[in-house]
Symmetry: C2
Subunit: 161 residues, 2 copies
């Protein structure tokens, strides 16, 4: 099963794909989708959408997952993030893929074992869980973390039902 993790952002959206087979995880690919800060907002969103559509068409993931948003005290940042996040969720759902959402603490717990882990620990554990991975920056690392979290939850759900 191919799982696509996404870390939405208007400037940079991180993505990471893992293959889950039973309890085994394998890294497939990761990277970031970057939009031109000088382009008008609607163009940037459409560019992000086109890159997501191409990514999903290339890899044909079976499931997707994103982090639940930590709502910022800066309302303008929240709006900006919301707009990018809307496009990301929409692009996944439009391709017929279900999208899991996880709290930051749930992702940290799944990857590191504690919900209070530091970002650096999360990325170090991602690298350990996916031998040979070369992580394309922090956004791609976050995306791989949410993909791993989703893989664990899908595996637990299968054991339960």
């Amino acid at each position: 099963m191919l799982i696509l993790g996404l870390d939405p952002g208007l400037g940079t959206t991180g993505w990471g794909i893992v293959r889950a087979e039973g309890n085994r995880l394998r890294h497939v690919a990761n990277g970031k989708l970057v939009t031109d800060t000088k382009a008008p907002l609607p163009r940037r969103l459409a560019h992000l959408d086109a890159m997501l559509a191409a990514l999903i068409a290339d890899h044909a993931p079976d499931a997707a997952a994103v982090e639940e948003v930590f709502v910022n005290s800066n309302a303008q940042s929240t709006l900006k993030l919301g707009q990018a996040r809307g496009v990301v969720l929409c692009a996944a759902a439009r391709s017929g893929i279900d999208v899991g959402e996880y709290k930051p603490s749930t992702i940290k717990k799944a990857v590191v074992g504690t919900g209070a882990a530091e970002k650096a620990q999360v990325h170090a554990m991602v690298a350990r869980l996916l031998p040979g991975v070369k992580i394309d920056g922090p956004d791609a690392g976050d995306a791989l973390a949410v993909a791993i979290c989703h893989a664990h939850h899908l595996a637990s759900a299968r054991r339960m039902f």
Copy 2:
């Protein structure tokens, strides 16, 4: 020239289309796009996206416009609105249409003549400026108002250059 005004919202997105010929305005159509409050967020966004794509394909507008967001003090509402707004801006831009953004006060000034107008005045003036229009609720009324505002600004720009 066909101008599509949009009033984005996750639950209800209002839309309105006017035809601008020189200084004359004519109502073409208006309505609302409603998503199922019981569906998961990504599905709702993909449904909104599909309805927008169909609307744009049906009417082939030349330009689109939305209101600049009044950022809410409630961060969760801002995020929700941002997600819907991202899908709306993206759908327009993906169709190759430029999207104008206007402050609420600019829209009121264009429609009523004062930036401090009440909502009810705006809708009453929309009905007066577009004889025979039947407005499909307040969101469609807001969408027609931003379409009228965009028509005025495009007409002024033509006179200036």
